[in-house]
């Protein structure tokens, strides 16, 4: 992936040469430090004025810089806030950073520039304690409101054993429960309008329609939704904090569990980011194996979505058929990887093992079997008139709105905008495959469903081509950082033996630097932004997940609809709570 660097010249022309400090990163993405008093103007310029603008706020995060040692010529900072913007017209990204000094620094909020900055800034505040001036409602988002400290700061303990024993006396329990009480005033909601009180309905965190621990508080007028406030964080497990303790290699299984329906699809984004940092070139066979398994997981994930979608609009049976089909996929994945949902199969520099004997037959059987099933499901679900009545015209948004809110994946394509990383930024050799990018037209619930159903067919096409072109050769790279290195040579030459020993006992040492890698995952763009300080663990791991901005959009698209519609909207967004909360 080569990025468009001309944006730096435009910036310099507009704001003056001296305002910017360039940083060289391993992924080659243009990265600039800008002065903090100008950040809002610069981002506004990038979004609105520059030719071929950067329309999407792809990610917003921060780095605690206080204990970072490899700071080659970078501005002195205690914290830096990182804005990752994406331009569709340029097909390029830019990373804008602000260096901040002080224990609990402040920076201007950009919540008025991008709608989806709201939650991202809350997350940064929650995790780092950085305050955003002018943010409409800066409060914790992932951690409970009673939490002390900000977890991603370096001084915050990472393990329970560093924190002293946990106790929950009665008065503390009362305080915690009191904190969960929803107070409409805190969210700027009225309790009543002229002639009637609103009803506030607490939907979740335990509700059969939310597919996990998601809580949405609905402000209802009868059954009509006036406003909604999603409350997330119940599934937060500190995946980003864990990355700072695990070695680069032992973090791979944690990624499996972020989008827990995506399996190796999560590994895919992570290992590619690490490989970018380390400069590893992956052999062709490993690339194709990776693509094949990822596409299997795309189908598996979409099948879960398909069944639960039907279930959420009240159709009882499809979920059983689809889980049966998913079971067939898991049999293949189990045969190849040895595990089903979370195979933890990709490795830095390749995959864990070569394909087993007879894998072609398993895969081919599935390729023959599956299209018939999809046809049946079309009749059963997609052509059903009640399903259409429940989903057509519900939860609509336009392409502009989708970009404004940071929507990616099928949700973006359903608006009629053809954007898929596999086509636009082909990674791991996706350019050698023939497949179409299905798009919708109206961006409503039905179109989102149509896009996903069609994607399963396209994934099947890719898998079929994988079987046909599967190259011979090694399944792991020769690179010394490949972890664990290829076993067959360890006992034969001392170099590999040392690498093996070091990489297995310490974990690989990745050269200092920064890299981002984004892929087209099952639910949208999943990306890993890794900062290495030249050690065996990551200095900062940022997981950019698709579900987080998608859930943020729920209130915007569900206002004026009924509770039943909300469930249809949630069903077609296709989120996973672990993917929202990490």
């Amino acid at each position: 992936m080569t990025y468009d660097h001309s944006v730096i010249d435009s910036l310099k022309k507009k704001f003056g040469e001296s305002a910017f400090i360039l940083q060289k990163t391993r992924d080659g993405m243009p990265t600039v430090y800008v002065p903090q008093d100008k950040i809002r103007d610069i981002l506004k310029y990038l979004k609105q004025e520059i030719p071929k603008p950067y329309k999407m706020l792809y990610d917003l995060t921060a780095i605690d810089e206080r204990s970072r040692s490899n700071r080659q010529n970078l501005p002195d900072a205690d914290f830096s806030v990182v804005y990752h913007l994406l331009s569709f017209e340029r097909n390029s990204d830019i990373r804008v950073k602000v260096a901040l000094k002080g224990e609990y620094p402040e920076v201007d909020s950009i919540a008025k520039v991008w709608a989806n900055a709201d939650w991202y800034e809350r997350e940064v505040y929650d995790m780092f304690g950085i305050k955003f001036r002018g943010h409409p409602n800066l409060r914790r988002i992932l951690m409970p409101p009673t939490w002390e400290g900000h977890p991603l700061r370096k001084e915050h303990p990472a393990r329970a054993t560093e924190m002293g024993p946990f106790r929950l006396p009665d008065d503390k329990q009362d305080r915690e429960q009191e904190a969960l009480q929803f107070k409409p005033e805190e969210w700027g909601l009225k309790r009543a309008h002229e002639d009637a009180d609103f009803m506030f309905l607490n939907l979740g965190p335990q509700h059969p329609g939310t597919h996990g621990v998601l809580r949405i508080i609905l402000q209802l007028d009868g059954e009509e939704i006036v406003d909604a406030v999603p409350d997330i964080g119940f599934h937060h497990r500190g995946a980003e904090k864990m990355a700072e303790r695990q070695s680069w290699h032992t973090y791979i299984p944690y990624t499996d569990r972020i989008d827990y329906l995506g399996g190796v699809m999560n590994n895919f984004a992570y290992v590619q980011a690490v490989e970018e940092l380390a400069g590893i070139r992956v052999p062709d066979r490993a690339k194709v194996i990776r693509i094949m398994l990822s596409e299997f997981f795309r189908i598996a994930s979409h099948l879960v979505w398909y069944g639960t979608f039907a279930q959420d609009v009240g159709q009882m049976s499809p979920v059983f058929y689809m889980f049966n089909d998913r079971e067939r996929i898991f049999e293949i994945i189990g045969a190849i990887c040895g595990d089903r949902m979370h195979p933890n199969w990709f490795r830095i520099g390749g995959v864990a093992q070569d394909l087993p004997k007879g894998w072609e037959k398993l895969v081919k059987d599935f390729i023959d079997f599956f299209p018939k099933q999809l046809k049946t499901y079309d009749k059963l679900v997609m052509k059903n008139r009640i399903i259409k009545a429940r989903t057509v015209g519900i939860g609509c948004y336009t392409t502009e709105e989708a970009i404004e809110w940071g929507v990616t994946g099928p949700g973006l394509r359903a608006t009629g905008f053809e954007w898929d990383f596999r086509k636009k930024r082909p990674y791991s050799g996706y350019d050698q495959f023939e497949f179409d990018i299905p798009i919708g037209q109206n961006g409503d619930c039905y179109d989102r469903a149509v896009v996903r159903v069609e994607e399963m067919r396209q994934s099947l096409r890719i898998i079929e081509q994988c079987v046909n072109i599967m190259p011979e050769g090694p399944y792991k790279s020769d690179h010394p950082i490949t972890t664990p290195p290829r076993k067959e040579r360890t006992m034969k030459d001392i170099e590999t033996l040392i690498n093996h020993f070091v990489n297995v006992s310490w974990g690989p040492v990745i050269p200092a630097g920064e890299a981002f890698f984004g892929i087209e995952a099952t639910k949208g763009n999943n990306g890993y932004y890794l900062v290495s300080d030249g050690g065996t663990t990551s200095y900062r791991t940022r997981v950019r997940t698709p579900s987080f901005p998608h859930i943020q959009m729920v209130p915007y698209i569900s206002r004026g609809h009924t509770i039943a519609d909300l469930l249809a909207i949630l069903a077609t967004i296709d989120y996973v709570l672990a993917d929202v909360d990490r």
Binding site: V313, G314, A564
Partner: protein
């Protein structure tokens, strides 16, 4: 044998048979759904899993009889009984076979309609007394649904009344000796069937409980035997509506003489019960307002037209 004893026998017989059927239906539905959904269903307890019903009964009787502290206690206890009592009373006019009927009233049809609509109170009171927002929404939906579907449920049956010149269910069955009413009253049958599904709150018209939306709707707060009453009431309701479809449109006990009339009656009833279950297995749930507009804008006018045309033809031919 004295008349009183005979009637007592019939009353007890109907009660026992109906409650047994309702209990067995739980097993039957689970097995049928499983069959259509590529799985086994309950097959471990007893032959074919039949004793699952007993196991469930034992479990439900021994469950803690919990009453939500925020609920309106007496109404909360009283509500589930209404549906069971009302539906069981409805069976009083069902003619199972010649001579096997608890009460052959000359207003049997109206009595059935009255009893089946009483069940709505169960949902309404159960939902409101629970003092839970989901239950409240469920009972609101339930009340609106019953009120709107009640109207043309009655009207759709008037064609049958015109053709048989009677409100008595026995007479209605006897009037079908030559031709089942499903043929001249096909529209009436379809409308009555749809209204019957709505009346019993079965999928796809299970909006008052709508699991994926309202958790369990009007009976979210119920557990133990009080929940069991709602459950049994639902299955009794399905049986009653199926029995009524058989009676009004498919000639009740009538059938070729190689089987006794009561067997014919139950075969027909079970066919419709199975249809109810198949509907649940296959259809998604429409939205509340879509259900209402289907009722008021399509089914109501259609049933009125059906009534007018039937009456006109009867006038022209029979005079």
């Amino acid at each position: 044998m004295s008349d009183t004893l005979y009637y007592l026998l019939i009353i007890v017989g109907v009660l026992v048979v109906m409650l047994t059927i309702a209990a067995l239906l739980i097993w039957y539905e689970r097995r049928m759904l499983a069959l259509w959904q590529d799985r086994y269903g309950p097959n471990r307890v007893g032959p074919f899993g039949l004793m699952q019903v007993m196991a469930d009964m034992v479990k439900i009787f021994f469950k803690e009889d919990w009453i939500a502290p925020f609920a309106d206690k007496w109404v909360f206890i009283f509500a589930p009984t209404i549906i069971v009592v009302a539906v069981l009373l409805g069976f009083a006019v069902v003619p199972f076979a010649p001579g096997i009927v608890v009460a052959d009233m000359n207003i049997g049809l109206l009595y059935f309609l009255a009893m089946s609509s009483l069940g709505a109170y169960s949902i309404l009171l159960g939902g409101i007394s629970s003092n839970n927002k989901y239950s409240l929404l469920g009972s609101l939906r339930g009340a609106a649904q019953v009120i709107s579907y009640e109207v043309f449920m009655g009207i759709s049956l008037m064609g049958v009344v015109i053709l048989s010149d009677s409100f008595s269910l026995v007479k209605i069955v006897e009037a079908q000796k030559n031709m089942w009413f499903v043929i001249p009253q096909f529209i009436g049958f379809v409308i009555f069937f749809i209204a019957g599904v709505a009346e019993t709150h079965r999928a796809p018209f299970d909006l008052p409980e709508a699991e994926s939306e309202l958790v369990a709707g009007f009976h979210s707060e119920y557990s133990g035997m009080k929940f069991g009453m709602f459950f049994v009431g639902e299955y009794l309701g399905i049986t009653l509506i199926s029995a009524m479809i058989a009676t009004f449109f498919f000639g009740g006990w009538l059938g070729p003489s190689f089987l006794p009339p009561v067997v014919w009656f139950f075969i027909k009833t079970f066919a419709f019960i199975t249809l109810f279950i198949l509907l649940r297995a296959s259809l998604p749930r429409p939205r509340y307002d879509q259900l209402m507009s289907l009722g008021w804008k399509i089914l109501l006018p259609l049933s009125l037209v059906n009534l007018l045309v039937t009456a006109a033809i009867k006038l022209a031919i029979g005079g």
